[in-house]
Amino acid sequence: MTATEAPRKGVLGQRLVRREDPELLTGEARFVADLKVSGTLHLALVRSPMAHARLASVDVSPALEVPGVVAAYSGADLEGEWAGPLPCAWPVTDDMRQPAHLPLAAREVCYVGDAVAVVVAESEYAARDGAEAVLVDYDPLPVVVDLEEAAADRALAHEELGTNTSYVWELKPDEAAVEAAFASAAHVVSGRYVQQRLIPSAMEPRGVLVVPQPFGGEFTVYSATQIPHILKVMLAVTTGISETSLRVIAPSVGGGFGSKLNVYAEEVLALTLARMLKRPVRWIETRSEATQATIQGRGQIQEIELAADERGRIQAVRVRLLADMGAYLQLVTPGVPLLGAFLYSGVYDVPAYSLSCRSVFTNLTPTDAYRGAGRPEATYAIERAVDLLARRVGVDPAEIRRRNYIRPEQFPYSSVAGLVYDSGAYEAALDKALQLAGYEELRAEQARRREAGERHQLGIGVSSYMEMCGLAPSRVLASLNYSAGGWEAATVRILPTGKVQVVTGTAPHGQGHETSWSMIAADRLGISPDDVEVLHSDTAIAPYGLDTYGSRSLSVGGVAVAIATDRVIDKARQIAAHQLEIAPEDLDYGGGEFRAKGSPERSMALGAVAFEAFTAHDLPEGLEPNLEASSHFDPPNFTFPFGTHVCVVEIDTETGGVGLASYVAVDDCGNQVNPLIVEGQVHGGITQGIAQALFEKASYDDQGNLLTSTFMDYLVPAASELPSFVTGSTVTPSPTNVLGVKGVGEAGTIGSAPAVINAVVDALSTYGVEDIEMPATPERVWRAIEQGRRP
């Protein structure tokens, strides 16, 4: 694999503007909240203001007095309605502990925001008024907030479990080797890093509309979800409604970042109430609900140790994780630490590895997958620790990385943690990033400012990452106890008029799949992407799929489109050969046309072939009519994108304010279908990593009250807080799929948080600062400087 492979000619690799955009730009797109069905009832939930309490009484009768209110139910009222609990699909160990989790709490609330009652009304305003009227008596129970306290079982988040530990999971291929490496190490560095809880903050809050169909007892569920297919299965399981009576549609969805990769109480509740009341039912989340009742991300304490030789070459990595599950296990809550657990050796050639993870319950909002899910955490720990190692060894952060990178000739590389990395050229990405950043000049400017004692000091942070994405080979998921597969479906049809229909199982919510998938099919068919329509996110149209998360859509779903397209061409070739009275292997295909090898005047256009397939008047013996093919692609391996980011911060040493002076990202996601979209993914990813490093934290008081429940307090950065980014890329195709693609949805986020904090710590290193907790707020930076100034 090299970084010099020329992109193929054709549509792939072009910066096509997105076909999704016009309806979004004109306001014609329909998000769930925009759907209007006459006779719809509106839900408002009553949520617990206590983090842990027994429900002494829930009196919904005052709500029924409110004009417009149609019904109101407590958790106890609906207890008989559920066929199963809210699902957790990832029991990572056989002995994992799991509390009961119902859509409405009936006896006990376990976090602030846990829903205890629901009010159904003719309007949103009336529903809200009704919810305000519900009377609830709570008997407080001890509250578990702090992660380490939780691990010590001093108070219990769920008394009935007898412990706060949900599971302990270990990855220890060779403990003796790890111990030997530490025993003989020239350098040992260790770090303890807190991955603060983050609120995913998709701009569209969640929402669901359930419409009972007039005949047949069927339901159409419109949900702001990333996973319409998984949701359909899970709704059937939790409500007892037959899967054949459910149709799930994800209309325009306003971002997800993992927060809509879940099966939520409100979705189950809305379906159940639509069934009970025989009317359409709608629930639209408010932002201050979203901060509490939608999953949060991260929430880990990481202890990492590196053993290295004299020159700083890493000999072993040892990691202990403490992971915050929150109050309940949502869809993949317990699996999130595992998605990072294999990656704590980063981009480095590490011979010995040991990791253990304890996951505990707290009385806080459940955690689950948020952009990167486990991988940003892992990358942060190793990239912070490697910077520390550079300092111990006394070399530049770029140099320590060069000494440790897995070299291009080592690919495919079998990692000590048990993965096989598909391809990589890590040093090339570093070189390009340093060159784009003007690294030498930056170091000189940094030295000048230090020398001059200027108020604004520079910090330069480097981070090299790689990640495993393209979730996921189904057999690997099985080995990790995940309950589902990781394949993806695609169907490609050539319609009688020669237009092309692609049906995908992915469920985009901002990623531009319609544009990119049309490019993949058009490239192979040799036609214009404008002639390809892409259908998705409706289980009646795209019955199979495993949806969109984990940077999987292109490298699994897009590859399925490519394979299905090739299969369609194969079938068309047989028809064309029959029509042209020539052997199929004697036909060339290109530009939407079959031509006889050597006599191109004997040709047949794809549209003509499609029409023949449609009329079926004269098909080869034994060939079925219609020009259509499907693929259900199960990837043989993950893909492993990588890159290096360089962040430059400018710190006001008087106030502790951190300004971003510049940001360079060089990412390698293999072949790029549409670089415009790739760059957009990188920009957004970088910003969410910067947000974790400098701005965001879900803050709780010691009683489990969320102190950052609005966008006034939870500091999602705006344009005014950010610089423009310099992005570059290298191209190292993945050998594991026909497109040579990797994933890019999470890469930016994975690379950026450590780059920013490495820069901040670099700036503060003259004060003896070796670490700063995220987010690096002005006060934290100021305190670090003050600490350093003290003799």
């Binding site: 106030t655 609005t710 807080e721 002005p778 006060e779």
Partner: protein, 275 residues
């Protein structure tokens, strides 16, 4: 979120507003741009029984000279004040501060009178008015009176306005020749100041602080130090003397004290540079 129900009246004049306030007492609230009150109402942290909308009283939106003062109608929006040529010439501090509030959308709706009457210690205009030595003309059922800014801010979200009074005009001494500075420290541009400092230097120096206590405040210790001949640095070190700044997610009291000193020093340096 959705506010609880309330009655609503559009006041066509200040007199009409005063009449409604007198009739309905404490349950009535004045609505100007709504950018202080409506957010609280949406979270149901405020549930007034009556909103008296002043928005239709166009004649309360003006900027004009009045003797040595610049007079600003209470319903003048932040964006209009920020862009007003007369304001920029006669009270560049006030015009500048108006342009720093919230974000453009907030400045298109929020009014100077609404902001001052809300009396939020974290808001920028009250501190600017303190530094400028402003005074406020208020009208009530007992007639008009003028309240100096120094006597206006009484407690947390509490002002000297009586329940039946309407703030109608803000007067600030013109300070075209004076040194001035406004230092606002935030984590995001749209946020309230973690700490802000306004200073006006015209022979003597007045310094006021944003978000350093339960009300907008003067930095009296620093002012006195300056008057006593202290350097900017020495005076700034005393900016937070005697104050009890709040603690929140963005800053501890200790950090706020530190910021107040740093920003005061910068403000004084900038004042000196302007004059």
């Amino acid at each position: 979120m959705i506010p609880a129900s309330f009655d609503y009246e559009r006041a066509r004049s200040v007199e009409a507003a005063i009449r409604l306030l007198t009739e309905r007492g404490e349950e009535a609230k004045l609505l100007a741009g709504g950018h202080s009150l409506l957010p609280l109402m949406r979270l149901r942290m405020a549930t007034p029984g009556l909103l008296v909308d002043l928005g239709g009283i166009r004649e309360l939106s003006y900027v004009r000279r009045s003797g040595d003062d610049l007079a600003i109608g209470a319903l003048t929006r932040h964006c209009d004040l920020a862009a007003n040529e007369l304001a920029r010439a006669d009270s560049p501090l006030l015009a500048h501060v108006a342009g720093q509030i919230g974000d453009p959308q907030v400045r298109h709706r929020g009014t100077i009178g609404g902001s001052l009457a809300h009396g939020d210690p974290a808001s920028d205009l009250p501190a600017a008015c303190l530094a400028l030595g402003a005074s406020f003309l208020v009208a009530g059922s007992a007639g008009e009176r003028r309240i100096p800014a120094d006597e206006f801010f009484r407690g947390f979200l509490e002002t000297a306005l009586r329940p039946d009074e309407v703030l109608v005009e803000i007067s600030v001494p013109r300070h075209a020749e004076a040194g001035w500075s406004f230092q606002k420290f935030t984590r995001r541009a749209q946020d309230w100041a973690i700490v802000g400092v306004a200073a006006v230097s015209d022979g003597s120096t007045r310094i006021s602080l944003v978000n350093m206590g339960s009300t907008p405040l003067r930095a009296t210790a620093a002012e006195e130090a300056l008057a006593g001949g202290a350097s900017a640095e020495e005076a700034a070190a005393r900016a937070a003397d005697g104050l009890e700044p709040p603690s929140d997610l963005n800053a501890s009291p200790e950090y706020r004290r530190h910021l107040a000193s740093v920003l005061t020093r910068r403000a004084l340096e900038e004042c000196a540079a302007v004059t």
